[in-house]
Every structure is written in structure tokens, then in C-alpha cells.
């Protein structure tokens, strides 16, 4: 749980499931069968994210958004509460 949920822009596939926790797209190490470089038995998170995002009715283009550096201090907290807190501050 990163506390900064971006599932809508990753085809609803959690990027923190990537062993390198990549949030901006696949690395160059994806295997030719589409599986992960580090976990050969697991489908690459970003191969799944790309497939899913193209099938979504909304937010299809959001996978192109540049995601900022992750705030590691929010790890383990609720993204909903963090988001609402941000709105309150505004």
C-alpha cells in the first residue's frame, strides 16, 4: 500500500506489484513471453496494465501521464484519507 493510489492510470493493475515498483511503465527487462524479468512465472505488471487500460471505457490515455516521485513517507497509509486530506488543505 503506497498511499498514493493511481490505479485508474494503470489499467487497475497495482504498480507496486512490480518487483521494481515501477510507476511509469515497463522496464526493458520484460521476457519475450511477457513475463517479469525478476519473477519468471509472473506476467509483467505493465504488460497487464497496458492490456487492461486499452479495454477501459475511461482513463485509457492516463497510462501516458508522468507519475511523480513516490512519497515513501505515506507508505502503509490510506490513499483515500490522504486524498481527502489534500482536498481539505486546498
Amino acid at each position: 500500500m503506497c498511499g498514493q493510489c493511481i490505479l485508474h492510470s494503470t489499467g487497475m493493475v497495482c504498480p507496486m506489484g512490480c518487483p521494481k515498483t515501477l510507476r511509469n511503465g515497463p522496464c526493458g527487462g520484460v521476457r519475450s513471453d511477457g513475463n517479469c524479468e525478476i519473477k519468471p512465472d509472473m506476467k509483467c505488471v505493465w504488460v497487464r496494465a497496458w492490456d487492461n487500460s486499452t479495454q477501459m471505457a475511461v482513463f485509457t490515455e492516463s497510462i501516458q501521464d508522468i507519475q511523480p516521485q513516490l512519497d515513501r513517507s505515506l507508505s502503509g497509509t490510506s490513499a483515500w484519507i490522504n486524498e481527502l486530506g489534500k482536498k481539505n488543505d486546498e
Binding site: P19, K20, T21, L22, R23, N24, G25, P26, C27, G28, G29, V30, R31, S32, G34, E37, I38, C44, W46, V47, W50, D51, I63, Q64, I66, Q67, P68, Q69, L70, R72
Partner: protein, 310 residues
């Protein structure tokens, strides 16, 4: 802000001149000489030399030290930074230190997982990914500030590059990913080994379409295969390197002793094709532990510095 190119590499690519870069294999040496000797074998043939960042998750000669040594020897480095071993604090500290040593070209990659190398017990960092590595360094470059907002005494002169791998899935996303990296601050690109021209052309067509015929400078990765056995090893052990059966079969037709020559010839053939493609800015030669083959490939394809600068 000045528009003067910050490096020889930047100048060539901005002018649209066909450019050759090469990767030097960093020796496991505690002195400078071995590195300098290898770099000097490449220097007559290329415009800048890539210094890897403990590639393959195997500790090698420090990239910043190696780049400084090249600069001392009047050779322009492209220093690679990966996300595997440095968090955002170390990245920013190292970038400004490298700048002070004269480094201008910085190439940002995700980096191989620690499982790939000879220290699989190590803790992988990946605080940043290749895109946020670019945005972090680009922030230093354009704002003259750390991510925290703390100011540097000046803005560093940097030319940022990024990697692209059109040869592994998700294929349809690779051109878009390149453009995302451009938006994040990358001015030039170097690709993973190209052994599959058809796959590359499909990628390039898509990139040309997305950029309306004006892609950012892209150097295509090439390299000789020493033997059919080496090709299989590369395919199985180096993440992200796709070696089609057809090229292995082509080399395997020859007896073991002649395979080295066949590998160089196959590479020359690929370079000849790449030279004819519109939208390609040059080549990036990776001849792992085989620097002597670079001269042969470059001479045979008419890409020596003298030939290119006529």
C-alpha cells in the same frame, strides 16, 4: 539561457549528424590503466563512450570515477545512472558531483534487478523509476534546485538520455514510453541490442507516426555475437535482449572457429540496414569484453570518424 550545445554528443545530434557511440566494458581493476586502454581502442571510432552503472547488477568500476578518468584523457563520456543502487538523495548528490568533474551526458535507465547479478542477496533500491530519475535530474538541470527546493549555485549543463527497448513486450507501448521519457526530460535515446530489424522497423514506423516524422535522436544498439553459444547465453541471461533464432542459425552454420567472424558479419549487415532508415540518428555499439571488434564493424560500414566527417 544559452542554446549552445553542452557536449559534443549534443552538438552532433542537434545538427542531425550520423552519430556513433560505444559502450566500454569496465574492468575489474583497481587502477586507471586498464580502463583507459579499453576506452582508447573505441575512441577513434565513436563520438562518446557509455559508462555503465554496475551493469547486470554486478559491481564494476564506479561510473563517476570512470567518467572522470575518460575526461582526463579527452574522451567524452555518457554516464549511465540506474535506479537499482541509489535513492533520490544519492542520485542528486552524484549528479552534481559528476557535473563538477565535467560530465555532461547522463543516460537514465531503470536497471537490472539484483537477481541478475552475482550479489542476489543485496537490497534493491528502486526509490525512483527511469521516468522519475529523468524528472529528478531534469529538475536539477532546469531549476537549479534539489527536489526539496534547496538551491544550487547555478544550473548544471546537462544533456539527458534514456533507454528504449522495442524488442520486448508490451511492443505497442514502447514508442509511447519513449515519448513519455522525452516529456520527462530526455533529449536522446539509445536502444537495447537490435538483432531483429523487422521488429525495429515496426517500432520506428509507429514512432514516426506519433512524432509526425520528427522523432528525437535515437541511436540503435548493435553488437557482434561471438558464437551461437554466446548468443543463446545472452538471450537467456541478460534481461531484455531478444535474439531471434534466425540470427543464431545463421552463425551456427559455420564451424566453431569461424563463428566469431560470422557474428561480426551479421552485425555489419544489421548496421548497413540501420544506416538506410529514416528517423535513426546513429548507432550505439555494445561489444561486451570485445572492444577490438568495434574497429572492424565501424571500418566495414564506412562509419569511422574520418569517413563521417568528410
Amino acid at each position: 539561457m544559452t542554446n549552445k550545445p553542452v557536449s559534443n554528443l549534443a552538438q552532433r545530434l542537434e545538427k542531425g549528424l550520423f552519430t556513433v557511440t560505444a559502450e566500454v566494458t569496465l574492468p575489474d581493476s583497481i587502477e586507471k590503466e586498464a580502463l583507459v586502454a579499453r576506452a582508447k581502442m573505441l575512441e577513434p571510432y565513436c563520438d562518446a563512450i557509455n559508462i555503465t552503472d554496475s551493469t547486470g547488477a554486478v559491481p564494476h568500476f564506479s561510473n563517476i570515477a570512470a567518467a572522470s578518468i575518460l575526461i582526463e584523457n579527452d574522451i567524452e563520456p555518457i554516464i549511465q545512472f540506474s535506479c537499482r543502487d541509489r535513492n533520490r538523495i544519492a542520485v542528486q548528490a552524484d549528479v552534481i558531483g559528476a557535473h563538477a568533474m565535467g560530465v555532461r551526458n547522463i543516460f537514465c535507465v531503470t536497471g537490472d534487478g539484483v537477481q541478475t547479478g552475482d550479489h542476489p542477496e543485496a537490497k534493491p533500491v528502486f526509490d525512483l523509476d527511469s521516468v522519475t530519475l529523468l524528472t529528478t535530474i531534469n529538475h536539477l538541470k532546469t531549476k537549479g534546485k534539489f527536489l526539496s527546493g534547496r538551491e544550487l549555485d547555478a544550473k548544471p549543463d546537462l544533456y539527458l538520455g534514456a533507454a528504449v527497448n522495442p524488442f520486448v513486450p508490451p511492443f505497442e507501448q514502447r514508442a509511447l514510453r519513449l515519448l513519455k521519457k522525452q516529456k520527462a526530460g530526455a533529449s536522446f535515446f539509445q536502444s537495447q541490442y537490435c538483432f531483429d530489424i523487422e521488429r525495429f522497423e515496426t517500432f520506428l514506423d509507429r514512432l514516426m507516426e506519433l512524432t509526425k516524422g520528427s522523432p528525437p535522436p535515437l541511436l540503435v544498439g548493435v553488437g557482434p555475437l561471438r558464437s551461437a553459444r554466446f548468443a543463446r547465453w545472452l538471450r537467456e541471461n541478460v534481461p531484455g535482449v531478444a535474439v531471434p533464432d534466425s540470427i543464431i542459425e545463421k552463425i551456427e552454420k559455420y564451424p566453431r572457429k569461424e563463428q566469431q567472424k560470422a557474428g561480426v558479419e551479421a552485425c555489419i549487415e544489421i548496421v548497413e540496414t540501420i544506416k538506410t532508415l529514416t528517423g535513426v540518428a546513429g548507432i550505439h555499439v555494445m561489444a561486451y569484453n570485445w572492444e577490438s571488434s568495434v574497429s572492424e564493424i565501424i571500418e566495414a560500414t564506412g562509419l569511422s570518424k574520418t569517413a563521417r566527417n568528410i
